[in-house]
């Protein structure tokens, strides 16, 4: 599929149960044009069988998901809910993401502004796809965008940001709302986290989970948790 034909359709929302994160009105408005799959996952430790947790909490958790689904439907989104009892939420999100062929995953956080959007880019490979997604999703006049590339030590000076900025302006975005930011740092995750603090939303390409992600949470999860803003991961894996 050529990247230019890409129109975002399906977005997964990562809902950690039992305490589901709230969605702000601004975020809900962004999702109105999409097919939303609300994935509520309830993590069980190995001492507990998933069936046992389902027996006890299934009904209540489904009710919580339905409340969220109702709000999104009112905003015009087509909503589907999935409730999963799992010993491994990463596996679960990955599996459902592939099953419904989603274009992105949203880790929600209640934050009532979507004005400054941070777009961290590792390389220019999926630039078009991410640019299209950003443009499609955030169509407000007031939003501004920071394209961020973290240059690690020894990295040669390939310009990652310019092609993305160009595709954004080609699509029709005003170049005055796009800021290009190049940072030198040895820990990209920390640099992105740092930049996230003065933004309202992060849109990034997904990354393969590394060992430390399994221990401390994936980079997007950590951003959502520490910067208290929602994060959208655009799926860039080739689709099955």
């Amino acid at each position: 599929m050529p990247e230019s034909d890409f129109t975002p359709q399906t977005i997964l929302i990562d809902v950690s149960l039992p305490e589901a994160a709230a969605l702000s009105d601004e975020l809900i408005a962004l999702l109105g044009s999409l097919h939303v799959v609300l994935v509520g996952w309830f993590e069980v430790p190995e001492q507990t069988s998933a069936a046992q947790a389902n027996d006890q909490f299934g009904r209540e958790m489904n009710e919580r998901l339905d409340v969220l689904a109702g709000v999104l439907r009112e905003a015009g989104a087509a909503v589907e809910t999935r409730l999963v009892f799992t010993g491994n939420p990463l596996d679960t999100m990955e599996r459902i993401s592939a099953e419904v062929d989603s274009d992105a995953v949203l880790i929600p956080y209640a934050h009532d502004r979507v004005e400054k959007v941070l777009v961290p880019l590792r390389d220019a490979r999926h630039a078009d796809r991410i640019a299209t997604f950003v443009n499609h999703l955030v169509q407000t006049d007031t939003a501004s965008f920071t394209l961020l590339h973290v240059r690690e030590e020894g990295e040669t000076d390939a310009d990652v940001l310019t092609p993305v900025a160009e595709s954004l302006t080609t699509i029709g975005m005003d170049s005055s709302v796009i800021e290009k930011r190049l940072v030198d740092a040895n820990d990209p995750a920390a640099a992105i986290l740092d930049a996230a603090h003065d933004h309202d939303l992060v849109v990034m390409g997904e990354s393969e989970p590394a060992a430390r992600d399994i221990l401390f949470g994936t980079v997007p999860e950590r951003i959502a948790r520490n910067a208290n803003i929602p994060v959208i991961m655009v799926r860039t894996h080739s689709k099955a």
Binding site: Q47, T48, D55, R59, M61, R82, L83
Partner: protein, 443 residues
């Protein structure tokens, strides 16, 4: 039963194998060699081979049942769905208590290893084995109730370390035993105490094979169960059976049966010292600690799963399956495992603990084989296993006969205790649950 949510299948083949191996490996290598050789001499190798044979005869039918009914609950589920709730309750209680006895037995082994280590360090303290085992039972139960970090990965690492350690020990020991390295050997007749002890020893050491069916109790959580269940069950039995037979062969080559009997539960440490020096002894001591602890822990977790299976069908009060909101663990069921384990440790007869554990499991194994024969005969619509047990009806029939038959070779006290527990389960059923009808009756 409410099916509101999806249940993620999180266990792949390596994890399923690790459950089987991790549950089994603690006993056969690290506790039994001394006791078994003391009873049967070098023919104890045959006793372990008989055990492996019976386990395989049961593992194949169990694989078929588990692929037809990939539900949590294992043996309880298969028997209750094919032979009714009375036998189901007896199997379910047997599964729960069988694992309780097994766990108490593993923890006694753990106590022996810790005592040996304390003695080797020459600290001048003298803690009784039962005290160590008792305290460890309470600590393990506490950790399983409050621990929210998954220890599954740790379990896999422990199993990996153990297998590597054993490969080194067995490889070296085997060369030694076959005379390649020119070590001294102890010439001895194969069965110095006659044929009968070979079978009584097989009955005693069968506890070493009580892990494979635990894989079936988590059938609902295994990815691609049609392929992974049979592979994990048969594979883990074959692997540990091989390890056991080799271990006994090497042990009886290095020491006489009398010497091994005298060394008792930790005889394998002396064998390893003889083969590989102090480093070998230390490695096996640590291995023994890890293996017995991992077996005990796995048994506690499986045991609580059995309580849940019974509670789901209302054969025991609902409250037993309650999940703690804070830790998300089934704290009542875990206490129902940990409490009796601690009590049994105070009773403290290692061989009786092992035999009752085996008896309660063999009762289930035999009935699972019968269940397979019944299901094949009646062939209900829902019965569509992905894996087919070969050589039916002969193989499952032999499995049933062997399972029930092995019980006859146990000590009278063990048989009495086991039969008493099963009778108590039957009485419980008559008093509490006689009017229960299964919510998802298949037949």
């Amino acid at each position: 039963m409410s099916q509101q949510g999806e249940l993620e299948r999180t266990l792949g083949l390596p994890q399923a194998l690790a459950i089987g191996i991790g549950t089994m490996v603690g006993a056969g290598i690290f506790v039994f060699p001394g006791l078994a050789a003391g009873q049967a001499g070098p023919a104890a190798t045959l006793s372990f081979a008989i055990g492996a044979g019976i386990a395989l005869l049961v593992a194949l039918p169990t694989s078929e049942l588990a692929t037809a009914m990939p539900e949590s609950g294992g043996g309880y589920y298969f028997v209750s769905r094919s032979m009714g709730t009375l036998l189901g309750t007896m199997v379910g209680v047997g599964q729960w208590m069988g694992l309780v006895f097994a766990s108490a037995f593993y923890l006694m082994g753990f106590g022996h290893y810790l005592v040996d280590i304390v003695a080797a360090l020459d600290l001048g303290v003298d803690i009784p084995v039962t005290t160590i085992a008792f305290v460890t039972a309470l600590v393990l139960t506490g950790i399983s109730i409050t621990g929210t970090k998954n220890t599954g990965d740790l379990q896999n690492i422990i199993v990996g370390v153990l297998l590597a350690l054993l490969a080194g020990f067995l490889g070296h020991g085997l060369l030694d035993a076959l005379g390649v390295l020119g070590g001294e050997q102890v010439p001895e007749t194969f069965a110095p105490y006659g044929t009968l002890p070979v079978f009584t020893t097989a009955a005693l050491v069968f506890t070493s094979y009580l892990g494979f069916a635990q894989i079936a109790t988590v059938a609902g959580e295994i990815k691609n169960p049609a392929r992974n269940l049979p592979l994990a069950m048969v594979g883990s039995v074959v692997l540990v059976g091989l390890l056991y037979v080799l271990t006994i062969f090497i042990s009886t080559s290095v020491f006489s049966s009398e010497a091994l009997a005298e060394l008792g539960e930790t005889a394998i440490v002396a064998v390893s010292r003889d083969i590989a020096g102090p480093i070998g002894a230390v490695a096996i001591l640590i291995g023994g600690l890890l293996a017995t602890l991992s077996s005990a822990n796995a048994s506690i977790l499986s045991s609580s799963r059995s309580v849940y299976a019974l509670s789901r069908d209302a054969l025991v009060p609902d409250a037993t399956a309650n999940i703690n909101k804070r830790y998300r663990t089934p704290h009542v069921a875990l206490l129902l495992a940990g409490g009796p384990i601690a009590a049994l440790i105070l009773f403290g007869r290692v061989e009786v603990l092992a035999e009752v554990a085996s008896l309660l499991h063999l009762f289930m194994y035999g009935l699972m084989c019968v269940a397979l024969l019944l299901l094949r005969h009646h062939d209900p619509n829902w019965y569509e296993p992905d894996f087919t047990c070969p050589a039916s009806p002969w193989l499952p029939a032999l499995g049933a006969i062997a399972s029930f038959g092995l019980v006859a070779f146990m000590q009278p006290l063990s048989i009495g205790l086991g039969a008493g527990l099963l009778a108590a389960a039957a009485i419980w059923y008559r008093v509490y649950a006689y009017d229960v009808s299964l919510k998802d009756e298949r037949a």
